[in-house]
């Protein structure tokens, strides 16, 4: 399996990276916190660790640590606009339950 970006998400990430002037890709991960178990981490990546898995989707590198990989496998990250707000959305097949606001989830 793999982790992918939609084309819209990839375009946005690339744009943000260009703007930032540095960074090799996008680091995705999870950590245990939040009101419903796990929370997503989405950060600019400046380094790749040896144990990281690296995917490439629409020309953007996605970097995931092995611990997070278990929770994220098969995820597609989309860029969405809802009203005035816009941002990234995780379509994660492993999720069984989310907290009300969707910022954290359980598997």
């Amino acid at each position: 399996m793999a982790i992918t970006l939609t084309e819209a998400a990839a375009r946005r990430v690339q744009q943000y990276l260009d703007n930032r002037g540095k960074g090799i890709g996008l680091r995705l991960g999870v950590r245990s916190s939040g009101c419903s178990g796990m929370a997503y981490v989405i950060e600019f990546a400046d380094d790749i660790e040896e144990s990281d898995q690296v995917f490439e989707s629409h020309g953007v590198k996605i970097i995931v640590d092995p611990k997070s990989m278990v929770y994220l496998d098969g995820t597609e990250v989309d860029f969405a606009r809802e009203g005035l707000n816009e941002g990234f959305k995780f379509n994660n097949p492993n999720v069984r339950d989310e907290c009300g606001c969707g910022e954290s989830f359980t598997v």
Binding site: R12, V13, Q15, Y16, N19, R20, L26, R27, R31, S33, G34, C35, A39, Y40, V41, I42, E43, F44, A45, D46, D47, A80, E82, G83, L84, N85, E86, G87, F88, K89, F90, E98, C99, C101, G102, E103, S104, F105
Partner: protein, 624 residues
């Protein structure tokens, strides 16, 4: 699910702990709000995709408030209740307002708190309250866009704003429910947007030509601190003047009379503006003007012709820039960077002229309308803690020197302008006369030498100085400015240890109580007002009764009243006078009633007598 933003490595926040921050450019004509998302600072549009919010507030009869485009559209039809350019009134007393804005079409009401109010159908409002409405609109936009409550904001102010104007801006933010992380000078914000704060330092010129105002600021960056070396400008020069120059040219070409109707003039200005905007990217603009008689005049305005028309305006800004450089004590070739701000700097000839003057290409990459808000957003992002601390942290500086009055009406500066805060400075003073036991400390702000030319911030008196010969006492005056810009001044006589101090909040800023009372529920407020009014009315009524009775008693009290009767009336009058001073509305009412009861016999006797007097010796017929 929630929409997520990309964080800097290691800076991911826990869910529900997003620290949202925004930068606000609170402008004279237009305002903007910007925020950093996924590492990118950008201004936030409204639902219609418009980034600029006109700084216009309209008050409606039903108490509702309209802000922005809709309010601006109503300006012509409802000028008294539609308030624009309120920034010019911020932190200004009534005298300043009359002095600077004699042509503002509003009804001012002088109130004791030294904050002039504007009368509208929805009640009287101060400049601070009007600004708060603009800030509220921007806050709503930001919170809806970012999907949460704002943790804090950075608001930009002109570099020349004094303490009172800055305090007024903070007050407005507080009224709008915003936490001000910092006020940032507009030119500094523009420099931050271009990342110049991370450069090695040097002198930066910021040329800001907006719709109606022109400002030029000379900054020096020194170890992460921007000092304002000098500012200059013209509060009535900008893009509107370019439009007018084009409109006048069209009038000459098309033979339109000077005294043409209002409608025609307004349309002309609109066409002129469109032509100006076309000429930003094209070499010529074709014009099609509908004349009053319905016919059309067609013509063409070339870039060269336009440049020629606006040349006097540009020359004016260049000479102001030259003067400001001289004030700053900086040569043109010492300027390392030039930053362009304001929509009018899109005009190619402006860029060219300023580039020629400084001998370098000015920064124009960021939209000149948005650059200030973007710089503020970047700074807000750091201050709210979304970036590693060492990234950048601009320090605030004191915009104007602080000092005290000395003999002869002179100002002794204790903290010079551009000192970074927090700061504490002390200076020793002595007595002027033999045996002097008190000293009055008058705290002033400003760059001028004479007290009259500076702004008075407050006074206090140090008493209990032991009598000594003149010049023997040692009085140490300490000025302290905390990180929020609040000034406290302490004076201490060193040999005896007596001291006195004052905390300065500029007298023209609102007091905390005033702000609180404004924040209170409006219904509650209305009831209070009504109660106060009823009480005042009842007191007037009591006064009237007492006065009339006193006069009557003096006139004929002895004639109609026994000693006992008179005593009764007088004790009842005393009771009413007491109730009038301390009683409630109902108690005063009751006092008036019971006084009237006691007097009933007296009043009747007087009445009868006066009628008898009037009628004596006349026939009944004469009265019909």
């Amino acid at each position: 699910m929630a929409l997520l933003q990309i964080s800097e490595p290691g800076q991911s926040t826990a869910p529900h702990q997003h620290r949202l921050a925004a930068g606000i450019d609170l402008g004279t004509t237009n305002s903007l709000v910007a925020s950093v998302r996924s590492g990118e600072a950008a201004t936030l549009p409204d639902e219609q995709g418009r980034h600029l919010l006109p700084s216009v507030v309209r008050y409606l009869e039903d108490g509702n408030v309209v802000v922005g485009h809709e309010a601006r559209a109503a300006e012509a039809e409802d000028p008294l209740n539609t308030i624009s350019s309120v920034k010019r009134l911020m932190g200004r007393g009534i005298a300043d307002v009359v002095h600077t804005g004699a042509r503002l079409p509003y009804e001012f009401i002088d109130v004791d708190s030294a904050v002039p109010k504007i009368h509208t159908v929805a009640g009287d409002v101060s400049a601070i309250e009007v600004s708060a409405e603009i800030l509220k609109a921007l806050r709503q936009r930001a919170e809806r866009t970012l999907g949460g409550e704002l943790e804090g904001v950075v608001i930009t102010v002109p570099a020349y704003f004094d303490d009172a104007q800055r305090q007024a801006t903070r007050d407005a933010a507080r009224l709008a429910g915003l936490k001000v992380l910092r006020l940032l000078n507009e030119p500094t914000a523009a420099a931050v947007a271009y990342g110049l704060d991370r450069s090695d330092g040097g002198v930066i010129a910021v040329y800001d030509l907006g719709g109606g105002t022109f400002d030029v600021s000379i900054l020096r960056l020194n170890r992460g601190v921007f000092e304002v070396l000098a500012t200059g400008g013209d509060t009535a020069l900008g893009g509107d003047d370019m439009d007018r120059a084009i409109a006048e040219w069209i009038m000459r070409q098309a033979g339109i009379a000077d005294d043409s109707g209002h409608h025609q003039m307004r349309r002309l200005m609109r066409d002129a503006r469109a032509a100006k905007e076309t000429l930003t990217s094209q070499d010529s603009a074709s014009l099609d003007i509908e004349l009053e008689d319905g016919s059309h005049w067609q013509g063409e305005l070339t870039r060269e012709q336009f440049d020629e028309l606006i040349e006097p305006l540009i020359r004016k800004t260049v000479s102001t820039t030259r003067r400001t450089l001289r004030d700053a004590g900086v040569d043109v070739d010492e300027v390392n960077e030039v930053v362009m701000v304001g929509g009018s700097t899109r005009v190619p000839r402006v860029r060219e002229a300023i580039g020629d003057f400084f001998g370098r290409v000015p920064h124009t990459e960021i939209d000149p309308d948005k650059v200030v808000a973007i710089g503020a957003a970047l700074q807000a992002d750091v201050l709210v803690g979304n970036k590693p601390e060492d990234e950048m942290l601009l320090l605030d500086v004191i915009p104007l020197s602080l000092g005290i009055e000395t003999m002869g009406g002179l100002v002794e500066k204790i903290i010079p302008r551009n000192t970074t805060i927090p700061v504490a400075r002390a200076q020793d003073f002595t007595t002027y006369k033999d045996g002097q036991t008190a000293m009055s400390i008058h705290v002033l702000q400003g760059e001028r030498e004479m007290v009259d030319d500076c702004r008075s911030l407050g006074r206090f008196t140090l008493r209990g100085i032991p009598p000594m010969v003149a010049g023997a006492a040692r009085i140490r005056v300490t000025f302290q400015v905390d990180a929020d810009g609040l000034l406290s001044v302490t004076a201490e006589e060193q040999t005896s240890g007596v001291q006195a101090s004052i905390e300065i909040k500029p007298s023209y800023g609102l007091t905390d109580t005033e702000i609180e009372s404004m924040l209170r529920d409006s219904m509650e407020h209305a009831r209070e007002d009504m109660e106060a009014r009823r009480l005042a009315e009842q007191r007037v009524e009591a006064d009237r009764v007492l006065e009339a009775l006193t006069a009557a008693l003096a006139e004929d009290g002895d004639r109609f009243l026994s000693v006992d009767e008179r005593d009764d009336i007088e004790s009842e009058m005393d009771r009413l006078a007491d109730l009038r001073a301390n009683g409630t509305v109902e108690q005063i009412k009751e006092g008036i009633r019971s006084l009237e009861k006691v007097c009933a016999g007296y009043v009747e006797r007087r009445m009868n007598t006066s009628i008898r007097d009037a009628m004596s010796g006349r026939n009944v017929e004469e009265f019909e």
